[in-house]
Every structure is written in structure tokens, then in C-alpha cells.
């Protein structure tokens, strides 16, 4: 044992280093999982240096191993790969540096990766991050689209070309970033923060071409999924090929199958919209014109109705009435005059018929005494009495002479 250190008797560096090395050496062997952030092999050197990053927290550990451990057949170490390392915490006394001394490195298998993603998916689904109710509708024709993608990538070109062809007025604010490897998730999150904070950006597209499950791993990063969930701007994801599903696809407001498909989702097709508007406009104009024509025809028909078109008819009827009444009055009057005339005629005829002249004409005679009275009975007159006989031709004085009288046989 060493005596406690004091200002008067400090420990030499070697003592402290040895003590730290002893303590660390006692920690023993651990299995640790992480993502390879850096990998450096120096040609000829027997030791390989790795940086092992925690996929969720922003921290990392240096790892060293013998070249044989890193180059084991079947193991392909690349930056970004998920690995499980058997290592012993090691303190390199010569430099005072700490590292994990790996004795075995295993790649995390595809199945294991998928199972891990599935676990995260279930966790986030249980939190409700993927609920349909959370999905926001995309703007109809955004003026500014935020695009997060790899610089000069096919995904970027697909989105830009197709979107601009469909809707030429669209503008892009592009955030270029690493879309693969250990820093990709953080890079994309940075882009999201920037574009979400930009008030001009109306929709954000996260686009990346296809790749292996490992390549697309950053897009199933829990932190990135949560970052998309809190975005106020609607987010469209277009990651990988149609068959690839990453967790960001679940949380995105719209999942596009490919970057080209994303372009189809975020903007309408201008020609189609134009045709639509033209069609609606033609229909509305046709309707209004038709309605107008119908009303014009109606008005025309009403105006041509005799009641309106020929106001003189209002008078016509009345004139006819007056004429009719007048005619009737005249006819009635005429009738009455004529009938009076006829009456007169009859009266005249009767007078004529009653007059003795007609009887005298037929041969009868009227006998009158001197005083003018009519003789109706032979006994009324005396013998030799002078009488007057009146015949049609005139008067004739006679005298009564019974000697010649004979009994009238009648």
C-alpha cells in the first residue's frame, strides 16, 4: 500500500497511472452494443481503433482491438454498422488514455436490427405517435417546400424535377445533409428544426434513395421519429424504395413510396388544375348564360301575350261592347217602330172593314128617313113616306109604295 498523497509528499505519475489502471482492470469484461462512428486502420499497425457511438445519446467510447479481431472473416466492419463488442475496459498507462479493449466483435444481425426497430415501433405506437388523428393535411399548392436530402442525390433530383414540372411556381428551401451513417439522424433532425422554424416553409420533405436496412437505419432512429412528431410543419417522407419501411414513414403526415411520388403528393399537376378550372368556368358560364336566356325567353313570351302586347285590345273589347249595345238599341227601336206601323195598318184595315162603304160596294143599300135615322124595320115607315136610299154610287130619293110589296121568300 502507498501512503496517502499530500502536498508535501505527492504521488508520482506512475503511481497514479498504475492505481487507475488497476482499478479499471478490475472492472472486468462487458458486452456492449453501439454503432461504429469511426474506424481507423493504419497499414502495418496491429491495433485497429474504433469509435463506438451510442445510438440514442450523444456520447461515444474509444475501442481498440487487434487487427485479427476486426478482420475476422464474415465480419464487415464499416462506419455506421451496429455491433456488439466483448471488451474489457482498459487503461493505457503509457498515454493515460482509456479505451475498451475488444476481444470479439459481432455485427448486429439483420433480424436483430429489424426486431429492434419493431420494438421501438411498438413503443412509439403505444404512445400514439403514429395515430391517424395526428396526421395533418398537406397544403394544396405550397409556395415553399423544405427539402431534406443528400447533396446531389438522385432523390433530390427526383423531387426537384418532378415537383417543378408539376407546379412551376414552387420554391425549395433545401437542407443538404448526411443521410447515412452514425450522424445522419442528428443531421436530419437539425434540418427539421431549421425548416420547421422557417415560416415560409409550408411542407417538409425528407427524401433519400433506397439502400440496405443498415443504410436506412437512421430513419428508424427514435430521436428522429420524435423530432418529426413535434414538427409543426407537415412532413412527407420518401425514404428508400417502395418496399422499404422505416419508422419515419409511420410518423410522417404522408408517406410517399419514392422521392418522385413525394413530388406527386406535395403539389398538384398544373395542367390538370388548369383543365379543372377551365371546365368549371365553362360550366358556370354555360349555366349563367342558359339561365339568362331562359329568363329572356320568359320575358319575351310574357311581353308578346295579347294582354301586354296589344293594349288596343283592351279598347277593342269595350268598343265592341258599345257597338253591340248600340246595335241592339237601334234594332230594338226599329223593331218597335215597325211593329207600331204594322199595328196602325191593322187598325186602318179594320176601320176600312168596319166602314159601310165596303158593304155598299157589295150591293147593299142603306135606307134613311128624312131625319137621317136608319130604317131597320118596314113597320117603322109610313106609306108614301119619302126615304133616302144610299148605295155605293150615291144617294137616291125614294117613296114607300106597299102596293107592289110581295112577301120576301127569304
Amino acid at each position: 500500500m502507498t501512503a496517502p498523497s499530500t502536498p508535501e509528499s505527492p504521488w508520482p505519475v506512475r503511481t497514479v497511472a498504475r492505481k487507475v489502471a488497476d482499478w479499471i482492470g478490475r472492472l472486468g469484461e462487458v458486452w456492449v452494443e453501439g454503432q461504429i462512428a469511426q474506424l481507423s486502420r493504419r497499414s502495418g499497425a496491429a491495433t485497429v481503433f474504433l469509435t463506438l457511438r451510442d445510438p440514442a445519446a450523444d456520447l461515444s467510447l474509444p475501442v481498440t482491438c487487434h487487427r485479427d479481431v476486426a478482420d475476422r472473416p464474415g465480419l464487415e466492419l464499416t462506419e455506421g454498422a451496429r455491433v456488439i463488442v466483448r471488451a474489457r475496459p482498459d487503461y493505457y498507462v503509457a498515454r493515460g488514455s482509456f479505451s475498451l479493449r475488444a476481444t470479439e466483435i459481432r455485427a448486429v444481425g439483420l433480424g436483430e436490427l429489424l426486431a429492434r426497430i419493431e420494438r421501438i415501433r411498438r413503443l412509439l405506437a403505444a404512445e400514439g405517435l403514429f395515430d391517424a388523428a395526428r396526421k395533418r393535411p398537406l397544403p394544396f399548392a405550397p409556395r415553399v417546400v423544405g427539402l431534406i436530402t443528400g447533396r446531389d442525390s438522385a432523390a433530390e433530383r427526383d423531387v426537384l424535377v418532378t415537383t417543378r414540372r408539376r407546379w412551376p411556381a414552387v420554391r425549395f428551401t433545401t437542407h443538404h445533409c448526411v443521410v447515412q451513417g452514425p450522424s445522419a439522424a442528428a443531421n436530419v433532425m437539425e434540418g427539421l428544426r431549421r425548416l420547421d422554424a422557417d415560416p415560409d416553409v409550408e411542407v417538409i420533405v425528407v427524401a433519400r434513395g433506397g439502400g440496405s436496412v443498415e443504410d436506412l437505419l437512421p430513419f428508424s432512429d427514435e430521436g428522429l421519429v420524435r423530432a418529426i412528431a413535434v414538427c409543426r410543419t407537415p412532413v412527407v417522407t420518401a425514404v428508400g424504395h417502395e418496399t422499404d419501411t422505416t419508422l419515419v414513414d409511420h410518423v410522417a403526415d404522408v408517406r410517399a413510396a419514392t422521392p418522385t411520388d413525394a413530388a406527386h403528393r406535395i403539389v398538384p399537376e398544373i395542367g390538370e388544375q388548369r383543365r379543372l378550372v377551365d371546365g368549371l368556368r365553362a360550366r358556370s358560364r354555360h349555366l349563367v348564360a342558359g339561365r339568362l336566356e331562359q329568363q329572356e325567353r320568359w320575358l319575351e313570351s310574357v311581353r308578346s301575350r295579347p294582354a301586354l302586347a296589344a293594349p288596343e285590345r283592351l279598347l277593342h273589347g269595350r268598343e265592341d261592347d258599345v257597338l253591340g249595345l248600340r246595335t241592339r238599341a237601334r234594332r230594338t227601336l226599329t223593331h218597335r217602330v215597325e211593329s207600331a206601323e204594322r199595328d196602325l195598318e191593322h187598325a186602318r184595315a179594320r176601320v176600312a172593314a168596319l166602314s159601310p162603304a165596303a158593304t155598299l160596294e157589295r150591293g147593299y143599300a142603306v135606307v134613311q128617313r128624312a131625319d137621317g135615322s136608319l130604317v131597320r124595320d118596314p113597320a117603322e115607315v109610313a106609306d108614301a113616306e119619302p126615304l133616302r136610299v144610299r148605295v155605293a154610287g150615291g144617294r137616291l130619293p125614294v117613296r114607300v109604295d106597299r102596293s107592289t110589296d110581295q112577301e120576301d121568300p127569304a
Binding site: L292, L299, V302, R305, A307, R318
Partner: protein
């Protein structure tokens, strides 16, 4: 006959009101049974309403033509 309407301010009677009243006037005229003075007044009112309707329709036609012209102008 719309020329007489040009100088007048926009009538307060809408097309629909004028149209409805006009139809009523014609119906009453056709039904008859009115005094001469009544029917003449009614006919005059009918003429006025018909002019009003015509005014609205002419105005609508003008607006339609104006909109169509504007649309057909090369942008």
C-alpha cells in the same frame, strides 16, 4: 327601351320581384272582370315591370359579355 333606364339609378325592385309582379299583372289582365280604367292602369304597370325585367336582363348580359371578354384576352 333600356336607354330610358340608363340615366335612372339602379331600380330598387329586384328582377325576381318585378318578374313575379309582372306575371301577376298579366294573369289579372287575362282573367278580365276589370273596369277599363283598372285594366289600363294595370297594363301600364305591366309595361313598366317588363321594362324593369328587361333592364336587369340587359345588365346581366352586359356583365356576362364583359367577363367573357376579359377572360378571352391573352394573359
Amino acid at each position: 327601351m333600356s336607354s330610358t333606364d340608363e340615366r335612372a339609378p339602379e331600380p330598387t325592385t329586384s328582377y325576381e320581384q318585378a318578374r313575379e309582379e309582372l306575371a301577376d299583372v298579366v294573369r289579372r289582365l287575362e282573367a278580365g272582370g276589370l273596369t277599363l280604367e283598372e285594366s289600363l292602369s294595370l297594363w301600364e304597370r305591366g309595361e313598366e315591370l317588363a321594362r324593369l325585367c328587361q333592364h336587369w336582363l340587359d345588365r346581366a348580359r352586359e356583365r356576362l359579355a364583359a367577363a367573357t371578354q376579359e377572360e378571352d384576352r391573352p394573359s
